[in-house]
């Protein structure tokens, strides 16, 4: 799921702190953003845009944080609008709905814990690459 690897260079203390903040930003936004899944994406995007001219290490981790938020946005939004349709239309609460909500809670929890762990490790200057998101970030973010 997550992989600690050697980065292209040894990041400085300030760089590590900035990179770590990109994950912390998404965590704060997750808390503030519930139940609106778009807010954490916007917060991470703002942080990403603010750091797009920063060093490679910071950019890389801002991109990974942003991409992870983007995919969570899709599954969270689906759950959000499903809930809205139950509240405001004659859509019923079904086993499928509750199962979906449980699944997204589990996935968000995994993402939340992974984000905390990554923020700590990146803050220490270690490079943490996530399954899929790390690969995608490598393709998008170039030195």
């Amino acid at each position: 799921m997550i992989n600690k690897t050697q980065f292209a260079y040894e990041p400085g203390e300030h760089e590590a702190e900035s990179a770590s903040h990109s994950y912390i930003m998404s965590l704060i936004a997750i808390i503030a953003g519930v139940p609106l899944p778009i807010l954490n994406l916007i917060a991470t995007l703002i942080f990403y845009l603010g750091n797009r001219k920063s060093t490679y290490f910071v950019r890389w981790h801002c991109t990974q944080a942003l991409l992870s938020q983007l995919s969570m946005l899709f599954i969270n939004s689906y759950g959000f609008w499903w809930t809205i349709s139950i509240i405001f239309t004659d859509e019923k609460i079904t086993n499928h709905y509750i199962s979906y909500m449980v699944a997204i809670v589990v996935f968000n929890l995994i993402e939340f814990i992974t984000t905390i762990y990554t923020a700590i490790q990146v803050g220490k200057g270690k490079h943490v690459s996530w399954w899929f998101y790390g690969t995608l970030t490598n393709m998008i973010c170039k030195p």
Binding site: S71, I98, S99, V106, F132, M139
Partner: protein, 265 residues
């Protein structure tokens, strides 16, 4: 790129699999989620119908039932509506009223038949109530007015007589939201056009009722529970303006006269 697609696919598969696995658990039972099922609606309809038929006399003369059945059958056949879903009960009461109840029960007061100037007017009101049934307005409205728990209690037969009467009162004088009312009106017009019944008679009926709305007559229940009859007659006429309408009488002139004679006091 292949690695990326593979990893992405794995994440999606893991998510879908976990969703599928969670569906194997009966969450609805665990969380005691109360649901309105067809069975609930059926029982609720039976409980309410029972109360209506205990307090009012149902007319079961063949002349009346055959005539009303002919009209309803004609509407249902021309509009592909399951006729078995609509259960008509003509009740002896002077109020100009008809209302839909859960499970497709449609109560028609004799006052409505007496005060319809022609069969098209009666057909219009019946189409309007059938539209409420087909669009599931009855349960939607009851749900929002009374709440799920009350409806489930009522359907179990354990509701207090006061609550049952309250539910019935809400149904017989049920004012749907303007949007639902308009939706049922336009659906009724569509039913009438497909059944080759001129909807302008329905608009005329509404207009006539609107003239009497301010008199607060106790006999004008259908009009008072369906406000803005004048507006409704206007938008019905507007809606039908450019539509080609054929006019066919479901009942013969004699059949309609015989039906009216049944209610001459």
């Amino acid at each position: 790129m292949k690695k990326l697609l593979f990893q992405g696919a794995i994440i999606i598969i893991v998510f879908l699999c976990s969703w599928f696995c969670f569906t194997q658990i009966n969450w609805v039972k665990i969380f005691h989620v109360q649901q309105l099922t067809d069975e609930t609606e059926k029982k609720l309809g039976d409980v309410l119908l029972d109360v209506v038929l205990k307090s009012e006399d149902e007319i079961k003369t063949p002349q009346v039932n055959n005539a009303i059945d002919s009209i309803v059958n004609h509407i249902c056949i021309k509009n592909n509506i399951d006729r078995g879903q609509i259960k008509i009960h003509v009740v002896e009461k002077d109020e100009i009223n008809a209302f839909a109840m859960p499970n497709g029960h449609l109560i028609v007061y004799s006052g409505l038949i007496q005060n319809s100037e022609n069969q098209e007017e009666l057909t219009g009101v019946l189409c309007h109530e059938i539209a409420h049934i087909q669009l599931n307005h009855v349960m939607k409205k009851l749900l929002s007015e009374m709440g799920l728990s009350v409806l489930i209690t009522l359907s179990s037969g354990n509701g207090s007589p006061i609550i049952i009467k309250e539910a019935l009162k809400k149904l017989s004088s049920l004012t749907y939201e303007r949007g639902l009312e308009k939706e049922a009106d336009l659906k009724a017009v569509d039913y009438m056009i497909k059944a080759n019944v001129n909807p302008s008679s329905f608009a005329n009926f509404l207009f006539r009722q609107s003239l009497n709305e301010n008199e607060s007559s106790k006999y004008l229940q259908w009009a008072s529970s369906h406000p803005d009859s004048k507006d409704r007659s206007v938008y019905i006429n507007e809606y039908t303006k450019n539509k080609s309408i054929k006019s066919v009488s479901v009942l013969s002139v004699k059949g309609w006269e015989d039906l009216k004679k049944e209610f001459v006091q």
